[in-house]
Amino acid sequence: MKSRLRGIFLLCGIYDMYKYSDAARSTISWRLIKLARSAWAQILLAVIIGLGVTLINLAQLSITGYAIGQMFSGADVSVVLPLLLIAAIMIILRAWLTYLKEMIAHYIAAGIKIALRNRIYAHLLALGPGFLEQRQTGELLAAAVDGVETLEIYFGKYLPQLIITLLTPIFIFTYLTILDWQLAIILAIFFIAALTMPQWFNPSARRERRRHWAAIAELNSYFIDSLQGLVTLKAFNHGKQRGDEISQRATDLCSAIMRVIGINFAYIGVTNLIMTSGAAVALGWGAVRVMEGTLSIDVLLIVLLLGNEIYKPILELNTAYHGGLQGATAAGGIFNLLDTEPDVTDTPNATSTPPLSPSIGFEDVSFGYDEGKRPALLNLSFEINPGETVALVGRSGSGKTTVVNLLLRFWDPQHGRITLGRRSLRDYALDTLRAQISVVSQDTYLFHGTIADNLRISKPDATEEELEIAARHANAHDFIKALPQGYNTIVGERGTRLSGGERQRIAIARVLLKDTPILLLDEATSSVDAENEAIIQEALDRLKRGRTTLVIAHRLSTVINADRIIVLDSGEMVESGRHDDLIRAGGIYAQLVSAQRVS
């Protein structure tokens, strides 16, 4: 499960969110803008600079045009050259502003990134592991990582660009109208046409884009599936056939994207044609009018030089639209996440004082993960006194792991209450609660870092000596020392892989460091693994000494030595007592114990 890949979920997630955003784009926009609250001033600055660039451009072209016009009327070079010098200065100024624009975009993006990532992760912490286990990691990563990146670009580049391109035509056409209102009208007509006519392609564009996304997701997931199951495929001589099927999907993807491209390019082509035609018509007609004497040559020159400049906002608008869409989509996912309320929070009167005695109680607890599904626990009641070791026994799916999750308060029971030191779990602050309990489970997650780092998770200020003592008691010190870098060996997903038994012993060491009064233990399942088992068992026994322990038991030796055994079946407690008593009773427990034994 841990090795699930982001890629496919990212694509499927974005594809799903695309449908969502299409419908809800209007409601998100305002909220989206508010996300960038801290950057508003900078965005405004970016807009002003962008407009400044446009204005300087217009001015520079006009001066140049005017200068050429002067040459036509035979003016002296000494008059014209200063004009061109001014134009040169304007060019330099504009280049500098272009640089500034890039930097402002960066600062906007940086602010967004920091604020948003923090907010998202803090929220994930509040939502807790309970929430996480119900979701795909890939989905959350898409929001926390890629989503934030997309939004950076959205706010840093596209939003300012959008505003600029909406305002720029106002300046340009006002200027044109001052020069010559008739030409301005012609250009305006083509401008509006260039803006609106390509929109006709939109429905088919959307449809093809969706198909394209689907084709990408299909190839992606099919390929992943093939890679992950490649050994199976080879073992069944299925490899070649699979290769053909991949080839087919790759070709499908090619066709899908060509259809998208066909429409995109038609869209672009029509826009370009309209723009170029507009410039040509304006020029042609302007030329005729100059001949007839109803237009000054200066204006014609400016129109010639402005040429396609007028239509640049439209091209930029297209790019901005795409960025906007991506931003809204990404935001959709993030809002989804931020909107989720944590199921479990600190109650207002939660105390930070630790419990007086480490006793545990379940009082008529019922709990189900989903409404309408069978409850995982039903009317469960039991007590564990301080220092006792209680073994929880039952087949897979009987509710044992749920008991652990509820004790850690990853969820709250729908009915009944759980007590710690005779006070309800809800009365304790979550931090305080978890400081009382340690867990050793079947699969231990190791973070990317050294073994020492991983051990220090439970006690950040532990000295090297303390680490070693804990590791020794966990029977882990020897194998750690045997590694080339010892305690500094990098482990985790990209580091050295340790075996299940080694990881479990590191988990035991962690717990020894944390030294809590309560211990929850999920025993390793059986494997004919004599050496490791004995070592781990010894370490676990050491661990249990003096602590209130709840063990999800798989070993006969554990249950025999437990103070009490609780037998769960389908979430209900069916038997409880000591080993000998239960065997004599001849119930479910007796059956479980005898089933696996071979005389």
Binding site: S3, R6, G7, T64, A67, L81, L84, A87, I91, I92, R94, M103, A105, H106, A109, A110, I114, N118, Y121, L125, L132, L141, V145, I216, S221, F223, I224, L227, Q228, L230, K234, F236, G239, I246, L253, C254, M258, A266, N272, T276, A279, A280, L283, A287, V288, V290, M291, L304, R395, G397, R434, S438, Y445, I457, K514, S526, A530, L556, V559, V593
Partner: protein
């Protein structure tokens, strides 16, 4: 000679490596030569009409300034209209065709990648994360698209258009192109000179991105541990400082891009202006007619456009290089095992298995996983293989399926060295059944059919019955058409194993390898699996990697492995006498209640 590091590999001469990769990519277009010619033609016509359009526009203005009549103007106006349409059509054609080439090529590449990985697996996959492989197949291959659709043609245009513009300028007066050239070189040269700065920053950025993201992945995947150990605030703090470090590098990147952009833009515009200034001076001296001034300015500007594009293209080349490098690395990956050319036809082979003095290590630097392992299983025999984790049991399976070859010794089936068998024949002889069998993202029916692609639906149901999974399947709402896999229905470990058994039954291979489940299952599943396996084992030579006491006790013989060596072997009764490793294992196993 400068060195460049691409993904950890140093290249002595980066230019040579660049040329090599670009050339290899170019050669891949061979099947599409015709379309490439078409798109080049379109690109050339596009450039030509762009220049012509600018020239005609400028001339119109010039003529009108001098004073002319409609009759003289008309052909120019007609040319204006015609060129506008021609340019639009050619622009569209060039884009469309080049993208068609590009994407067809990508499809072929992706297919080839799988074909390259298949023979190299599982060795290839073992050292890598599937996430990285997929990223290469989808993202890297997609980046290579840039080469075909956005590099070749722009490069062509970037050569042709400025050349044409310079020629036209030169036809007015020879000095004009000379004035322009220094600026052209500046605009080309500055990005080239600065690119290694940009590259270094980009590389740094990539690394830091990767680390920040990996940290986030870690923080989410390990959330449970973080919460339980109360490390939330400190982890949050780490997230923040990572973001800060990243933004610092991004700032340097933005600064670089900003400076580069500003400089090139400034240079090109000043360059055009300078040509105009020179033109003005010459008009002032009466060397040139004033109506040519607009033409001068427009031609000078036209020269720069594509050249600035080249800077963008040059940036892409770095990305293309890195991606293409990774893609070629896969395509060139050699297979770990090869079929021998003189492969004999397999007649009927006796299903006996033997390992003869096999020594094997996965990697020359690693210690051997199997050392002088020798054992055999007779036809129809049930052999249990027992030993602590890491003792080499899984490796036995890998060698038997010939995913690797042993460095010493040989694996023998029916008296024949398996190296002398074809892959197809070999894998037809052996079935593997595991609890964590991989289920594909398709229907149950198709998942079972993997055992034998020629099986009919009736065959599949028959196998399911014998595997005691048929009832479960029919109890599902979609029955055999229920989708499994990552996005499909979740089924339990026991059900998964029974599907694996059904597959093996369908395949009906004479040799069976059974990798026993280690986790506990409820008794019903247990019983059905046991019965299904009994059905499966009938008449087959079976090697069981055993974890259950009952399995071990019921085997014909037991082989005990420890640290890659066979330490004991014999029947259960023989081995139980005395203090052997086997006896110790059994004692531990007896302790287990579920």
């Amino acid at each position: 000679m400068s060195t460049v590091t691409i993904d950890g590999k140093r290249y002595e001469n980066d230019l040579k490596k660049t040329k090599h990769i670009l050339l290899r990519l170019f050669r891949m277009v061979r099947p599409w030569w015709g379309e490439l010619t078409l798109t080049s033609l379109a690109a050339l016509l596009n450039s030509a009409s762009t220049i012509a359009l600018a020239a005609v526009s400028a001339l119109i203005v010039g003529l009108v300034a001098e004073g002319t009549d409609l009759v003289e103007l008309r052909p120019y106006l007609i040319a204006l209209g015609f060129l506008t349409i021609l340019k639009a059509v050619m622009a569209w054609a060039e884009q469309y065709i080049s993208h068609r080439i590009a994407y067809s090529l990508l499809a072929m590449m992706r297919s080839r990648v799988f074909e390259a990985i298949e023979p190299a697996a599982p060795a290839y996959i073992l050292k890598r994360r599937s996430g990285d492989i997929i990223s290469m197949v989808m993202a890297d291959v997609e980046t290579v698209e840039l080469y075909f659709a956005h590099t070749l043609m722009p490069t062509l245009v970037a050569l042709v258009m400025p050349l044409t513009a310079l020629i036209i300028l030169g036809s007015l007066h020879w000095i004009l192109p000379l004035v322009l050239l220094p600026f052209l070189f500046l605009v080309i040269g500055i990005p080239i000179k600065m690119h290694h700065i940009g590259d270094a920053i980009a590389k740094r950025l990539r690394i830091e991105f990767g680390e920040t993201n990996a940290h986030m992945v870690d923080s989410i995947q390990g959330l449970r541990e973080i919460v339980v150990f109360g490390r939330g605030p400190s982890r949050l703090h780490e997230v923040e400082s990572n973001s800060l470090a990243l933004t610092e590098t991004q700032r340097r990147n933005s600064r670089y891009l900003g400076i580069l952009g500003g400089l090139t833009e400034g240079c090109s515009m000043i360059g055009s202006l300078t040509v105009l200034v020179v033109g003005v001076l010459m008009v002032g001296k009466g060397l040139l007619p004033s109506h040519q001034l607009p033409l001068m300015l427009l031609m000078a500007s036209a020269a720069f456009g594509p050249v600035i594009n080249i800077a963008k293209v040059a940036k892409q080349v770095a990305m293309i290089m890195a991606s293409a490098d990774r893609v070629f690395a896969v395509l060139d990956e050699p297979a770990i095992v090869e079929e021998y050319p003189d492969v004999k036809e397999v007649g009927s082979i006796e299903p006996t298995v033997a390992f003869e003095d096999v020594t094997f290590r996965y990697h020359p630097d690693e210690p051997p996983v199997l050392q002088n392992v020798s054992f055999d299983a007779k036809a129809g025999e049930k052999l249990a293989i027992v030993g602590p984790s890491g003792s080499g049991k899984t490796t036995l399976v890998n060698l038997l399926l010939r995913f690797w070859d042993p460095q010493h010794g040989r694996v023998v089936i029916g008296g024949r060295d398996i190296r002398k068998l074809s892959f197809v024949d070999l894998r037809n002889l052996v079935s593997v059944v595991q609890q964590d069998a991989y289920l594909f993202d398709t229907t149950i029916r198709e998942n079972i059919r993997i055992g034998n692609p020629n099986a009919s639906n009736a065959d599949i149901e028959d196998a399911s019955r014998k595997a005691y999974i048929h009832d479960f399947i029919t109890s599902l709402p979609d029955g055999y058409d229920t989708r499994l896999g990552e996005r499909g229905a979740k089924i339990s470990g026991g059900e998964r194993q029974r599907i694996s058994i059904a597959r093996a039954l369908l395949k009906d291979a004479p040799i069976l390898i059974l990798d026993e489940a280690t986790s506990n299952l409820d008794s019903e599943n247990e019983r059905m699996i046991r019965d299904g396996i009994d059905n499966l084992m009938e008449g087959r030579t079976t090697l069981v990697i055993a974890h259950r006491l009952s399995t071990i006790a019921n085997a014909d013989r037991v082989v005990v492995l420890d640290h890659g060596r066979v330490v004991e072997s014999g029947t259960h009764a023989d081995l139980m006498k005395g203090e052997s490793m086997y006896a110790r294992i059994i004692r531990v196993q007896r302790d287990v209640i579920m």
